[in-house]
């Protein structure tokens, strides 16, 4: 049991706890805060896998930019406390068992895969061969330049689309 291996389970547990709280919290700000906890603990998991750049970007983009907008909008609109509804019959009798089976199946296949064997042996959670930022940028900007640029143009189109939709109402 190395320290990174223990850290993996600690932060995995925090991530799951944050996700559960995100759904259970009734105050929108508490939900947003729980989501930030999930984002940051995921970043720690990336860091443990040796993906430093992805970890930093995860925090900068998701926790630092996207969630700030969420919190900002919740504060600006002064969103009230959520109302609880009675569960629909469909969700209760078909949804819950199906969700349970889905989880079971994912766990089963993960356990049988190579990663599962590694985790069981206590080595899989940590990859000491870190991917440097230089390697990553070489891949992005040389080998996969076209898909990268195509994605960025797609995002630009989405931003313009959002602007057009927002302006139409005026």
């Amino acid at each position: 049991m190395s320290i990174p291996f223990i850290l993996f389970f600690v932060f995995a547990a925090i991530a799951v706890l944050g996700a559960v709280l995100l759904i259970l919290a009734r105050e929108p700000i508490h939900s947003a805060l729980s989501l930030i906890v999930v984002m940051v603990s995921l970043a720690v998991l990336y860091l443990l896998l040796g993906a430093e750049f992805i970890a930093a970007v995860q925090i900068i983009v998701y926790a630092g930019a996207v969630m700030v907008l969420f919190v900002f909008v919740i504060m600006l609109l002064n969103a009230g406390v959520e109302e609880r509804t009675n569960w629909s019959k469909m969700a209760k009798y078909a949804g819950l068992p199906l969700a349970f089976f889905l989880l079971l199946e994912i766990a089963h296949w993960m356990w049988r895969s190579a990663i599962g064997t590694k985790i069981a042996n206590g080595v899989g959670a940590v990859n000491p061969a870190a991917v440097s930022t230089v390697d990553l940028s070489t891949l992005l900007f040389r080998d996969y330049l076209f898909p990268f640029e195509a994605t960025s143009i797609l995002i630009l189109i989405a931003i313009l689309g959002a602007l057009v939709l927002a302006k139409r109402g005026e």
């Binding site: 105050e27 700000i29 508490h30 805060l33 930030i36 940051v40 970043a43 430093e52 750049f53 930093a56 970007v57 925090i59 900068i60 926790a63 630092g64 930019a65 700030v68 907008l69 919190v71 900002f72 504060m75 600006l76 870190a130 440097s132 930022t133």
Partner: protein, 403 residues
């Protein structure tokens, strides 16, 4: 001893963290004294004067006052978030200091560098990641107080911090293009030579001058730390005290300390990126510069001695004589030939950071506050385009040089 040798990283790191925390807390306290004193002299006043000689014990008195005041929690507030916000603000502000190198990595104890806690390969990115979460301290403080002035203040500050973060990050990318690394120590090593090798001037081999990038950085940084002239989130005349109106006692002090800690971090970053970090401004061949730290302290002690004899009476004279003895002892230690090379890095780093902190206070004493629309149009219509042009120009120069 075996245990210490085996867990050198852990033991040395813990000691470094404890020492850094102690030093930073002291510096934070005296930064408030420094700010009040400098602003007072700009405005032809004396500033704190009565608690200790030259008001030197004022931070201690303030600290005790904050500890023993009544800690009020507004009944309509969201208790959990209300208590969380100041802790978040202060702890995030202090965490960034773990990434700052205060001296060269060649100074080592048990094989670990002394002057940096986390020598990360993505130091700069990590620092930006932590500062980008720093917005939450301010935003949540305003929201959870459940009161209108704090809410207005925190809305303003969230908008402002998100807007200026873009320019802040873009103004730094020019330096990154030149250096090709995120590691702070490597960033500093690329600027080795004399002051014209610093990224600010950039006359060294393979460097591009970043003077525009620096101006963008320092402007965005002042806005990012919510300081005058960008202190709209806590504009006293409009919003009482902005996001921390409802906070009292030590929780208020935590916001205060977080603001100063952010100022220190931003000044450290300016020093590292544009002013050569812990490197000396003189060429390495000028050996007399090794005597500068000791000589500076000895001169300080001489001045203190003169001041305490000529201008002080009674207990104030005794206190100032104690300061004289401290400076004298420090100077004597710094002139010891075995200590001399070790203090060079921290001496230059602290001097440069101190200069930036002075500039912060100087600007506060000089400039009036922006209006909100001026703030936004300045950030988006001037600062962002200029930092983008700086980035493209730097990239072009590098491209042309490499053919």
């Amino acid at each position: 001893m075996d245990f210490i040798a085996q867990h050198a990283v852990l033991v040395v790191s813990l000691v470094k963290i404890a020492v850094l925390l102690f030093v930073v807390m002291t510096v934070l306290a005296y930064l408030s004294w420094f700010e009040r004193k400098v602003v007072a002299h700009i405005q032809s006043r004396w500033g704190p004067y009565y608690v200790g000689a030259h008001g030197l014990l004022q931070p201690l008195a303030d600290g005790i006052k904050f500890l023993f005041k009544e800690d009020v929690t507004p009944p309509a507030s969201d208790r959990l978030v209300y208590i969380l916000a100041p802790f978040l603000a202060l702890s995030l502000a202090l965490t960034t200091l773990a990434l700052i190198p205060f001296g060269p990595t060649t100074v080592q104890v048990l094989g670990q560098p002394v002057f940096i806690i986390a020598n990360s390969n993505i130091g700069l990115l990590f620092l930006f990641a932590i500062t980008s979460i720093g917005v939450y301290g301010v935003a949540l403080a305003g929201w959870s107080s459940n009161s209108k002035y704090p809410l207005l203040g925190s809305l303003r500050s969230s908008a402002q911090m998100v807007s200026y973060e873009v320019s802040l990050t873009l103004s730094v990318v020019g330096v990154l293009l030149v250096a090709g690394t995120f590691n702070f120590n490597e960033l500093i090593e690329r600027q080795r030579g004399a002051f014209w090798h610093w990224n600010l001037f950039g006359f060294g081999h393979g460097q591009v001058t970043q003077i525009v990038g620096f101006l963008c950085y320092i402007t965005a940084a002042i806005a990012e730390t919510n300081r005058v002239p960008f202190d709209l989130p806590e504009a006293e005349t409009e919003l009482v005290a902005g996001f921390h109106t409802e906070y009292s006692a030590f929780k208020f002090a935590m916001f205060f300390m977080a603001e100063y800690a952010n100022m220190i971090t931003v000044s450290c970053l300016a020093t590292i990126l544009f002013f050569g970090g812990w490197l000396s401004p003189f060429p390495d061949s000028w050996t007399w510069q090794l005597y500068l730290p000791g000589a500076g302290l000895l001169l300080t002690s001489l001045y203190c001695l003169y001041d305490s004899i000529a201008n002080m009476r009674g207990i104030a004279r005794l206190q100032f004589l104690a300061v004289t003895a401290l400076a004298l002892g420090g100077g004597a230690i710094c002139l010891n030939s075995s200590v001399m090379p070790l203090v060079q890095g921290p001496f230059w780093f602290v001097t440069k950071v101190g200069f930036f902190l002075f500039v912060y206070v100087w600007i506060r004493g000089t400039l009036p506050r922006f209006r909100y629309d001026q703030l936004m149009s300045f950030g988006w219509k001037l600062l962002l385009p200029v930092s983008l042009v700086n980035l493209v120009a730097t990239a072009l120069v590098i491209l042309v040089r490499h053919g």
